[in-house]
């Protein structure tokens, strides 16, 4: 069944008890939390995701987000993320419990899922081909990703691009898109009907909110895509959208340096990464307006189709 079919009170009850089994992309997780912000975030953003009875299904990751055991919780309420009993991060203010869950899930995948080369990049798909968008923070990557998936591109991932080591194909991991600071209003303006949840303020990244992933992207989360492009976006106010070809060798080096497990994979990482670059056209992309950026990507997709 889908998570949205669980009544809100039942979702809270299950989360606070044995937990909820949830599928996201190729991974399943058992999530337990007594914090209402977590139930709220799941209900708002994960409605289309498959859930099962936690006692009947195996989970790849067993995670929880709960108040920490320390006395500090009585002074200032906090939330702590836990994976198989480990706490990889310091606790955060409790109203950041949902962003913390998202960060924690990214951590689980990036440290455990070595059947994939995992690149710190967004990925979107059209006509069977994926555009991989690696970029440093502040480059407008998530804003562009949100704009593209609200304009007919399929969301493969907002943060972690998974390259299957056996096939070289990109495995979708469509989860909520994290928007930061001004990006939240940019996307609200771009698509007023799009659901964006309650912003969390004063996080390490500033103000953070999450955009609900499109229903179709979630329904097609098992449908892989071939690498088509690697595009490095950079937003600058007032400039026209410009695509400039970039060196494949230097693009490979950037991806290798920004992959979570490239070194861990050794020669396999090199082989799969170079195969990916062989198939992909590589560009730098500067843009100032989201609609113009979307039109540029649409033209790219049309050219490869024809």
């Amino acid at each position: 069944m889908k998570l949205l079919q669980l009544p809100r009170a039942e979702l809270r009850r299950q989360l606070a008890g044995a937990g909820v089994w949830l599928r996201t992309g190729p991974f399943s997780l058992k999530l337990q939390s007594r914090i209402p912000f977590v139930a709220e975030g799941l209900a708002q953003l994960y409605g289309q995701f498959e859930v099962r009875n936690v006692h009947e299904a195996f989970a790849d990751f067993q995670v929880s987000v709960n108040p920490p055991a320390s006395l500090r919780r009585w002074v200032r309420p906090q939330a702590a993320f836990s994976f198989d009993g480990m706490q990889p991060f310091e606790p955060l203010p409790r109203d950041q419990a949902f962003p913390m869950l998202e960060r924690g899930l990214n951590w689980c995948v990036s440290t455990q899922a070595h059947q994939y080369l995992i690149i710190h990049a967004a990925a979107v798909e059209k006509n069977g081909l994926a555009a991989i968008l690696p970029a440093p923070p502040g480059s407008g990557k998530s804003t562009l990703t949100a704009g593209l998936v609200l304009s007919g591109w399929r969301l493969l991932s907002d943060e972690l691009t998974l390259i299957d080591l056996r096939t070289g194909l990109i495995q979708p991991l469509p989860r909520p898109i994290r928007l930061k600071n001004q990006s939240i209003d940019v996307i609200r303006l771009f698509s007023p009907d799009t659901y964006i949840n309650r912003p969390s303020h004063d996080t390490i990244k500033g103000t953070v909110a999450h955009m609900r992933p499109p229903r179709e992207s979630v329904l097609r989360q098992h449908e892989t895509a071939r690498p088509g492009w690697v595009v490095f976006p950079k937003w600058e106010a007032g400039i026209p959208a410009t695509l400039t070809p970039r060196s494949k060798a230097q693009t490979f080096m950037f991806l290798a340096q920004n992959a979570f497990n490239y070194r861990h994979l050794g020669a396999d990482g090199f082989r799969i990464g170079t195969t990916l670059i062989d198939q992909a056209a590589c560009f730098d992309f500067h843009y100032g307006a989201l609609d113009e950026a979307v039109a540029t990507f649409d033209r790219l997709a049309e050219r490869r189709k024809s």
């Binding site: 060196s247 494949k248 060798a249 230097q250 490979f252 080096m253 290798a256 490239y262 070194r263 050794g266 020669a267 090199f270 082989r271 170079t274 670059i277």
Partner: protein, 90 residues
Amino acid sequence: MTHASSHPPRLLKNWGDEAVVYDAASGDTHYLKPLTLALYQTCRDHPGYTAHEIAAALATRLGVQNVPHLHELTEETLASLRRFGLLESA
């Protein structure tokens, strides 16, 4: 004399006149800019050449004059390739 190191295995992938090399011993990956790739390939094709002979072969390969500046560049690049473990001195 210099030759391209063959042990342990290295994986080289080039796109046009640039390349990347994976060194299985260190786990490091190196970017080879056009001059470095040309020099690396020259060393691989002519094992045992001296630095002077490599510079001359490189000049022919790149279609440039064999001038003192090319010798300096060759020496510097050979040194960096040795540092990375991609070349060995005989």
